[in-house]
Symmetry: C2
Subunit: 362 residues, 2 copies
Amino acid sequence: MSQRKASGDAGRATIRDVAERAGVSVASVSRVLSGNYPVSEDLRRRVMKVVRDLDYVTNAHARSLAGGGTPTVAILINNITGAAFAHVARGVEGAATLRGWLSLVGTTGDDPERELALVNLMRQQGVAAVVLLGGAYDYDEYQLRMARFARSLDAAGSHLVLVGRPPLEGDVPATTVDYDNEGGAYAMASHLLSAGHRRVLVLPGHSELTTAQGRLRGAQRAFEAYGVPLETGLVRHGPYDYEHGYEAVEAALAETPDFTAVLAGTDVVAAGAMQALRAAGLRVPEDVSIVGYDDIPLASQLTPQLTTVHVPYEEMGRVALRAVADRREGGGGRRRGSDGDHLVLGTHVVVRNSVRPPRLRD
Amino acid sequence: MSQRKASGDAGRATIRDVAERAGVSVASVSRVLSGNYPVSEDLRRRVMKVVRDLDYVTNAHARSLAGGGTPTVAILINNITGAAFAHVARGVEGAATLRGWLSLVGTTGDDPERELALVNLMRQQGVAAVVLLGGAYDYDEYQLRMARFARSLDAAGSHLVLVGRPPLEGDVPATTVDYDNEGGAYAMASHLLSAGHRRVLVLPGHSELTTAQGRLRGAQRAFEAYGVPLETGLVRHGPYDYEHGYEAVEAALAETPDFTAVLAGTDVVAAGAMQALRAAGLRVPEDVSIVGYDDIPLASQLTPQLTTVHVPYEEMGRVALRAVADRREGGGGRRRGSDGDHLVLGTHVVVRNSVRPPRLRD
DNA sequence: GAAGCCATGGGATACGGTTTCCGTGAGGCA
DNA sequence: TGCCTCACGGAAACCGTATCCCATGGCTTC
C-alpha cells in the first residue's frame, strides 16, 4: 500500500499516470507533449485523449529542472500603482507573453532591503532576466549595489536590465533601456520660453532622483539657450506626487507669486499644481500656464488637457524584453560595453491646451 | 573528464558544489540553509562561508519539486494599466510578500483564449491560487467556463479566487471577494436625488458587464425609492473609458440636453464627461453636477474634485490573499458553500466638490 | 568502567520530467 | 528469401533539493 499514490488521489496527475492509463511508456508521453520527436498518429491520439481525460498539465518545476521550461522575466517596481511604471510593466509583460515567457512581479516600495531580497528570490527562480523599473536615487552606494546585482545575476545565467535610469559605470554585465529625459525637459522648457514665459516655477522632483536631475538639467540648458536666468528661488524640490504639486504652488504663491508658468516634473505633480492655482482663484491657462512630464492618461483627462512630454513607457518595456530575448538567443557571447547594452528612446512634446502666452497679473 | 561539471563552470552553483567545498554532506548544507534541523555552530559557519563565497542560492524549482518551495499566487488581470486593477494587484502582492509568497502576473486583454492559456500556465507552475481580477461579461458561457477553471485548479491542489465579480452559481470550489457594488450605486444616486436632481444622465458601462449591471440596478432602486422615473433615454451604455464619457455627454447634449447631473459608471468616464461639458461651455458643478465610481486617485486630482463611491480595491486584494492563505493553512478541508467562500466588502460615498443642487439652464 | 542516550552528520531515495541509448519490429532492396 | 536500414517504443540516467533512516561519537548515569 505504500506503493505510489492511492488511485483516487487528490494531488495532480503525473506523466506516469498518463503513461499507465494510455498503456504506453513515460517517454512516449513526454515526446507527444513536447512534440520534438516523431510519433505515430495513433500514439498521439491515444495519449492526448488521456491527457484531456485527466486534465493533465506538466509540472513546470520538474520540466525546468530537467532542462526545458518556460523562460521567466521578473519585473521589479517601486510602486505598482504609478501609471508610468504600469505602462512599462505592460510593455514587458506583453512582449514576454508574445514569446511564451512568464512574468513575475515584485514591488520594492523604495526599500533597499526588499530590493535585495527580491533580486535573490528571482535568482532562485532562475529567471532569464530581472527588469528594474524607475528612477534611482543617486547615492554613492547605488552604483556598487547595482554592479553587485548585475554580476550576481550574470553568474547565475540571468541578466539585469535597468529601465528608466542611467546606465551603470564601468564594465558591468547589465543592459540599460533609457529615454531622452534631459532632451524632453529641454524641449518642454523651450516650449514655455518660446511662448514668452520668463518667470517659471520649476518642480523637478527629488533632488537625488536621477530622473529629476535630468529634467532639471534639461530645463537649465533651455534657459541658458534663451539667455534667461533660471532663478533658484523658483525651483522647488519634492516627491513626484499630487500633494507636492499642490503645496509647492501654495508656497510659491505666498513667497514668489510673480511666476507665469509651472514646469512640473510629472503629470501628477502638474495636476496638484493646477488644483492649487484654481484654489487660489487663478485660471489655467489664462492666468498661469502649466506643463507636465510623462504623458500618462491623466494628462489628457485633466481640464484643460495638459501639454506634456511624451515618454514611450510601453515601448521601453517591449524593448527591454526584446533585448534580453535577443541576447539569450544570440548565445549571450556578445562583448560587453558594446552599443547593445545601452538603448535610448526618444521623447517629444505633446502640445495640448495648458499653455498660453503670459499675461500680467495684479 | 565527463564527470560532473568543469570546475570553472559558468552555470549556477549547486548544493553539491557547496557541500564539496565545505567538506560536508549535501544533507548538511540543506539543513543549514533551511534551518529546520539542529546543526552545530561550527558546521553552520563553515557552510555559510562557502555559500557567501560562491554567492549560492537554492534552485527554487528543485526545491518545490522536492516538496518545499515558496507558495506562489497568480494575478490575472484584463489590463494592468487600469488604476482599479492596479490597486487590487498591489493589495494581493503586498499581502503575498508579507507572507513570503511570490506573485506571478498575467494580462488577458479580455481574450478568453489567453485567459485559458494563462490558467493552464499557472496550473503548470503549481500556484497556490489564481486570482482573477475585474468585472466579467455575463454571457451564458461564462459560468461554465469559470466552473471548469475552478474544478481544474482545485483538482491540482490550487484554488480559484474571483475578485470584483459576482460569485459562481452551484457547488463550485472557488472563493469570491466582492464589494457592495449595487449598494454603492444606490447611495451615490440617492446623493444626487437628495440634492434635488431629477433628470440625471446615467452612464453605467457596458450592458453585459456584471459591474455595470449592478451599478445600474443600484441607481434604479434609488430612483424608485425617491419615486422618480429613470428615463431610459438618459441611460447610455458604453465602455469604461474616457472617450465614452466624452462622447456620451456630447450625444446627450445634442438629443436630451435637459439633464442636470451625470452619474458616471467610473471615475474615468466621469473625467471624459466633465471634459465634454466644459467643451460645451457648461461649468461643473455650477451648471451640471457629476459623480463617479471607484475613487481612484484621478477622482481627487480632477478640478473640481470628484464626488464618487469609494471601493476598497487594495483591501480586496489583501482579503483575497488572506482567504487563500487561511484555507491553505486550515487544511483546505472546509466545507464548500460556507460563508467563507463569498466575502463582501462595503462601499461608501466620498463627498467632494462636483455636486451642487440643480439650477435651471436656458 | 560499562551501558544507554542524545545530539549530529552522512547516505540514499523520492519529487516529476526530459533525454540518451538501445532494442525491436517492419519494410525495402538485392 | 535474407539482410540492412529506418522508425519508433522502452529502460534508465540525470536535473537539484529535502528528508528519512541509520551510523557514530561524546556524554550522562548507574
